[in-house]
Symmetry: C2
Subunit: 141 residues, 2 copies
Amino acid sequence: MAGPLTIGRVAKATLCKVQTVRYYEKIGILPSPGRSAGNQRIYEQSHIERLAFIRHARDLGFTLKSVRELLSLADQPDQPCDVADTIARKHLLQVETRLERLLSLKTELKRMIHQCKGGQISDCRIIQVLHDHHLCLGGHQ
Amino acid sequence: MAGPLTIGRVAKATLCKVQTVRYYEKIGILPSPGRSAGNQRIYEQSHIERLAFIRHARDLGFTLKSVRELLSLADQPDQPCDVADTIARKHLLQVETRLERLLSLKTELKRMIHQCKGGQISDCRIIQVLHDHHLCLGGHQ
DNA sequence: CCTTGAACCTATAGTTACTAGAGCATTTAT
DNA sequence: ATAAATGCTCTAGTAACTATAGGTTCAAGG
């Protein structure tokens, strides 16, 4: 029932897809595991931990590039953590920018929808706004 | 000085890149313009308007697929605008979801950064949180 | 008129982070 | 023993562009 840590079990344990696990191996972010007699991947617990780290960082919106950096940091516990801090701060800035943008976008969409009263396309506020940028008051780009 | 509407002028007028204009033509979202004697694209005003529509919708975060739908609606002014409304509403929902997610993400990042006091990686909260999902209080997936 | 440099052309490949499919081998359960 | 599930590799597809290479055309200056 338990048996060896096949790719399917690892994927289930970390909530990511089987192909994604293989993909992470291929791009070198997850070490190649050993193989069974029949050439199937057999993982160790450490693989699961690394995968969990990756998935978690991705969930938080870090790019794989950043994840790579964070992982190499995590592998050197004696180093100072300024670099990790810098990565996180840079990411926070990006997140805040995206947040602002999405917020003004939401406002604009709400206004568009609110003013579209189910008439004809020719009177449709949504289409009008898309035609004439100056009709929208939001500060989006 | 004014001259014909070449691709460069159209791109400048709509704030998008020359390659992007060609790309939109290639994927069939922007009609192919006429050509000059020397095989260069010569646009009409209508192209600029359509491009502006596209860029504006993309700015608002609509996918090209949605833009395609909205454009085909815009081309039929006599139709009811329920469909445009539905597209916009669906998009609004997506935007709101993303917003929530980004917000909890921002909270989590801030806490991570706040608690990382420039020590060593072994004590770094950022790395710790990425290692152990349960350390983070945020509701992200 | 000629040249030079900017802008144009096509076609192809690269980006990010996966996801999906074909076609076959192995493992597990019955 | 067999059938279903899972695994394997390799390739291509996704979104929405962006970039490069290698060549043509156009507009302006001398």
